[in-house]
Each structure stands twice: as structure tokens, then as C-alpha cells.
């Protein structure tokens, strides 16, 4: 009997060990590339960190500004409608809500008193100036790859911003997630806290792209699925995940569920402008990533990110191949059996004038639904979020705008129209309910703002 217990015990131990090491092996975002890596100071292949050569002679603050954009500090450290970098953005998670912090140089409520060493500890190790641990909503496991020089250039830039008094909002987390001390264990397991090591088997361009995507842009924080401990599972690197109520799509080379069928130019355009004709435009968090971060990168850097993205192993996920043929011109054709007519009615009144019954917009390529991944996602997550929140992006060519319908339409209405849109223009119709939509609203919600945002819309009765 003892022997059996011993064997079972040993078996459990081996399985646990295997699971632990499998999990830990999943923490290196660049291990897929194989080959050998060297410390940055031993790398002979040229500069892969810092700013591009065009900016090499710029002053520290200017370089810091570029790198701050590259690391996209702004998107999370800004609450909608409030001052940039003053924090207060809500991360809604199954176990509670965390708020981002004020990283303006205000001495009481911001980071104005941070020394260089304290700033590096926060960026690389997730340790605040007072020694408390940050939650990994702050992507320090990605930023730990960033060089000290780059992190301190970012600090130099942030310290030129106007200090804004914005006290931290109280996190609302359930036990045991409210015990910051427990993160010590998490950090040992999931934050190697090592700087970027170039891969000698890859080109300089690839290494630059890897540095931009992993250390700076932290793409994996949204696009890589997480394991049970909420750490990135790089065994399925970039194969897509739901973050903050929006779906970050599969950006591996899988032809059906990923971006294997996109041309390099499409990927380049999508990254640098947030839009590629035939594939649609970025909205929600990716719209912010394009507007606050990627659109600031110089062309060589975006090309480097494309080269790196293209090298990531394809992982199939549960998304169907996108439909690239437009729907029929008449609303009467292209019907899907069993679909709620409410969705069609709402589409006719609120959507068809810009999106057309074919899905090919007569107004702008940004409004074309045909071929768009979100429309070809049978969960309709991002379609529903886009309907709720609208799109309001400023790009070099002007404004990209879609009204936010969340206030004027009920959860059932939004579910119906999202189901209709995915069925008519996509590969497979969604089956959202009003409850699903309510849940999506909750996941993406932000706390009431300190001030009502100034409405740019005309009064609408």
C-alpha cells in the first residue's frame, strides 16, 4: 500500500515538475527562434536597441520621447478623456479592477521623486519606489528586456511633462489577489528580469524587430494567451487572446486564423497607420496602439517589426478563414436562416448608409466590413465593442470616426446587430445574447471620468 502511495506521489511530483518546467519554458518570448543569443555588449551585428540612426544625435529627451512612444506607455497610463500619463485607466479582470498609475513628474502623486534606480526597478522588476510590488498589468516582464539606457531616456522624457496631481485610484481586488506580497513568487517564476539578448543566428533587422516588439511594444501582453497563473504562454505565442473585453487577434502566420495571407505591405500599413485595405482598421486597444505608439515609429523600425512578426511560428486558433467576397447588393439576398430580423432592421437604419449592404463602404475603406477579421470572428467580441464604443481615431490623413452606439441601443439591440453583421459579412454568424453584451460592456468599462468629456458631436435630440 505504501509502495502504491509512493508511486502515485512520485507520479504527481513528476507531473507537477513537468508542468512547472513547461510553464517556465513558456516565459521566454523569443525562444521559438532557436540558435544562440549573446549579451548585448558582446553583439557584433550593429545597434538593435535605442533609437534609429536618424535620431542618434538627438538629445536625451527627444530620444526618450521616441522610445516612450515605442513602449506605448501612454495607452495604459491615460484614462479616457483625462490628461495623458496621469493614470487612472481601469483594467477589469475576473478577480477585480486595477488602475494604472500617474507617471507624470508630480512629486506627491506621480513619479517626480523617483531616482534612476527606482525607475529601473519599476520598469524591469515591477517594484515601486516604496518597495511594494506592482501588478503585472504593468508589463514589466516585457520591459525587463529593455536596456537601462532606453528606460532612463524614457524617464528623462516623462520628467519633462507637466506634473499633474492625480492621486492613485484604489484597486478593487478580491483576496488573495489583493496581497501584493504574493507577487514575489510570481516574479520568481515569470520574470527572469534579464535584458534583451540578440540572437546571433538572425539578422540585425530581425533583432531590432524583436527588441521593438518584445521589450518596447510588448505585443505579447495582449496577443499571447495566458496560462493559469496569468503569465504569458509563449508556447502559443501571438496566437490571440481576449484582453479587457476586446479580442487581440492571432498575428502568427497561420493562413486561416492568423495573418499568413496578409502581404508584408499589408502588415506594414496596418502597423504604421492602423489600417490596411481589405483587412480593416484597428479599433479599441489596437487603435490606441496604432495612434499612440506604432504610428510614431520610423519606417525602418516598422519594417523590422514586420520581419520579426513574419518569423513567428504559425499557430492555428479557433478563427475561421476570412470571407473576402462582398455580400449581395440587395438586403434580400445573402440571408442567413434563423437570424433575428431585429439585427437587419438596426443595420438598415444605423449602419447601411456607411457600410452598405455589400459590406464595401462607399464612404471610406476604413468602413469596409468585407475581409475584416473582427467581422469574421464568430464570437463577435470586437464587433460588439466597436458598436458600443465607436471609433474615434486621429490619423495623419484626418479623423476616423464611427458613432458610439452603446448609449442609444440596448444590449439586445447590439447583440442582434453584431449577430447580423457577422452572419452577413463574415464566415460564421455569432450568437451573442444581451447578457453577453452587458458582460462585454463591463469588461471594457472605465470609471466615471473626473470631468465630462467635451462632446464633439452635435446635439442629437
Amino acid at each position: 500500500m505504501k509502495k502504491i502511495i509512493g508511486i502515485i506521489g512520485a507520479g504527481i511530483f513528476v507531473i507537477a515538475l513537468g508542468f512547472a518546467s513547461w510553464t517556465l519554458l513558456g516565459r521566454d518570448p523569443m525562444s521559438f527562434a532557436g540558435g544562440s543569443t549573446v549579451a548585448l555588449e558582446d553583439y557584433k551585428g550593429g545597434d538593435v536597441t535605442g533609437v534609429p540612426t536618424q535620431l542618434a544625435s538627438a538629445d536625451l529627451v527627444k530620444r526618450g520621447e521616441y522610445l516612450t512612444h515605442a513602449a506605448d506607455c501612454q495607452a495604459c497610463h491615460t484614462a479616457p478623456g483625462d490628461a495623458p500619463y496621469a493614470g487612472g485607466f481601469a483594467f477589469n479582470m475576473p478577480f477585480g479592477t486595477i488602475y494604472s498609475t500617474n507617471i507624470t513628474p508630480d512629486k506627491q502623486t506621480g513619479i517626480g521623486n523617483y531616482t534612476d534606480a527606482q525607475f529601473l526597478a519599476a520598469v524591469h522588476s515591477g517594484i515601486r519606489a516604496d518597495g511594494e510590488k506592482l501588478y503585472p498589468a504593468m508589463p514589466y516582464t516585457s520591459y525587463s528586456l529593455m536596456t537601462d539606457d532606453d528606460a532612463l531616456a524614457i524617464k528623462a522624457y516623462l520628467f519633462t511633462l507637466a506634473p499633474i496631481r492625480a492621486p492613485a485610484k484604489q484597486n478593487q481586488l478580491s483576496w488573495p489577489f489583493n496581497q501584493r506580497g504574493l507577487l514575489a513568487i510570481w516574479n520568481v517564476m515569470f520574470n527572469p528580469d534579464e535584458r534583451f539578448r540578440p540572437n546571433t543566428g538572425q539578422s540585425q533587422q530581425w533583432n531590432r524587430g524583436a527588441y521593438l516588439a518584445e521589450a518596447m511594444g510588448h505585443c505579447g501582453e495582449c496577443h499571447t494567451p495566458r496560462n493559469l497563473a496569468f503569465a504569458l504562454n509563449n508556447h502559443r505565442k501571438y496566437s490571440g487572446a481576449v484582453t479587457a473585453g476586446w479580442r487581440a487577434y492571432n498575428i502568427t502566420g497561420d493562413k486561416d486564423s492568423g495573418i499568413g495571407d496578409w502581404s508584408d505591405d499589408d502588415v506594414y500599413l496596418y502597423l504604421s497607420t492602423g489600417h490596411a485595405n481589405g483587412h480593416g482598421g484597428a479599433a479599441g486597444p489596437m487603435g490606441e496602439a496604432a495612434d499612440d505608439s506604432l504610428s510614431y515609429l520610423l519606417p525602418d523600425d516598422v519594417h523590422a517589426m514586420v520581419a520579426y512578426l513574419r518569423s513567428i511560428p504559425a499557430h492555428a486558433s479557433d478563427l475561421p478563414r476570412t470571407v473576402t467576397t462582398p455580400a449581395p447588393a440587395s438586403y434580400k439576398e445573402g440571408l442567413v436562416a434563423g437570424i433575428d430580423s431585429r439585427g437587419e432592421k438596426i443595420f438598415a437604419g444605423a449602419c447601411a448608409s456607411c457600410h452598405d449592404w455589400t459590406g464595401v463602404s462607399p464612404v471610406t475603406g476604413y468602413a469596409t466590413l468585407t475581409g475584416v477579421r473582427a467581422v469574421n470572428d464568430p464570437s463577435a467580441t470586437n464587433v460588439a465593442q466597436t458598436v458600443i464604443n465607436g471609433v474615434n481615431r486621429k490619423i495623419a490623413e484626418g479623423k476616423i470616426f464611427m458613432p458610439a452606439f452603446g448609449e442609444g441601443y440596448s444590449d439586445d439591440d447590439i447583440a442582434a446587430v453584431a449577430n447580423y453583421v457577422t452572419a452577413r459579412f463574415g464566415a460564421k454568424g455569432a450568437h451573442l445574447t444581451g447578457n453577453d453584451v452587458a458582460n462585454l460592456r463591463k469588461q471594457a468599462t472605465q470609471q466615471p471620468k473626473s470631468q465630462e468629456p467635451k462632446s464633439q458631436e452635435a446635439p442629437n435630440g
Binding site: K332, P362, P403, N460
Partner: protein
């Protein structure tokens, strides 16, 4: 300088490419028959035809018009269906306050261009994005059928 084809005429416009077509029509070309309503493509009063399709001109930037021909309420009466729709509109005294009616006529004409004999549900699907606060919907539907009958 942009060159647009509006109501069959070539027009030169000195406007930034991101200016909505509606602004260009009203403020640069003094074609004020097309109205401004909600500004977010939800009411339909600013509807014009671009490349033969009904488009909300408050959302279409002038730079995106390209070579597509633009027809506005000022020019729609010279098209066969536009003339029939305007005639039917008068016969059925459709407008009440009239503010939305330029957009209604543009959408109705586009409907007849693609579907010469629409039934009620066709009319609903095509006209649902054109709001009328006076509630002239019943007369609009009747006038569209009246105009369609004139095609014969």
C-alpha cells in the same frame, strides 16, 4: 486644388482633403440644398449620390471622392428617376417642415435606380437611415410607389 464632378460639371475646389464633402458643397460651392443634420451619418439629411450610390456627405471626406461623379439635390431633377421622384413628391405633398426632404429624395432616387419597383420592405430597408421628425414616412412610401409607377 481638387477637381470634382458635381451635377455634371467639373468644379475646382481649394479645400483640405480631410474636409467633409458636405462642407465643400455648402461653404465652398454654395450648393446649400444639401443639409447638415446630425453630423454622424445617423439622420440622412446630407445624402448625395457619389458614383451612383447614396452617401452621407458629412462623413465622406472630399479627398476620398476621387473621380466619382457627385449628384446633389440641385442636380437630381435632371436624372430620369430624380425627376419622377420630385414630381411624385409634389403630387403627394410629402414634405412638412422639409428639412430632411433633400436627403429623402436622394435616397429614394437611388433606390429606384437600383430597384425600379420596390415593395414596402425594400423601401423600409433603403430608407431606414433617413429620419423625418415630422413623421412623413407614410407619404414618403406612397410617393416612392407613385414615382415607380411613372417608370412604366
Amino acid at each position: 486644388m481638387l477637381t470634382l464632378t458635381i451635377n455634371g460639371q467639373s468644379r475646382q475646389v481649394d479645400a483640405p482633403a480631410d474636409m467633409p464633402l458636405l462642407w465643400v458643397l455648402r461653404d465652398h460651392l454654395n450648393l446649400v440644398g444639401t443639409k447638415y443634420g446630425c453630423g454622424i451619418a445617423q439622420c440622412g439629411v446630407c445624402t448625395v449620390h457619389v458614383g451612383g450610390k447614396p452617401v452621407r456627405s458629412c462623413q465622406l471626406t472630399v479627398g476620398d471622392v476621387g473621380t466619382r461623379a457627385v449628384v446633389t439635390i440641385e442636380g437630381i431633377g435632371t436624372t430620369p428617376n430624380g425627376a419622377k421622384v420630385q414630381q411624385a413628391w409634389m403630387e403627394d405633398t410629402v414634405p412638412q417642415c422639409g428639412y430632411c426632404q433633400a436627403g429623402q429624395i436622394m435616397s429614394a432616387t437611388a433606390l429606384l435606380d437600383s430597384n425600379p419597383h420596390p415593395d414596402d420592405s425594400d423601401i423600409d430597408a433603403a430608407m431606414a437611415g433617413n429620419l423625418c421628425r415630422c413623421g412623413t414616412y407614410i407619404r414618403i412610401r406612397r410617393a416612392i410607389k407613385n414615382a415607380a409607377a411613372k417608370s412604366a
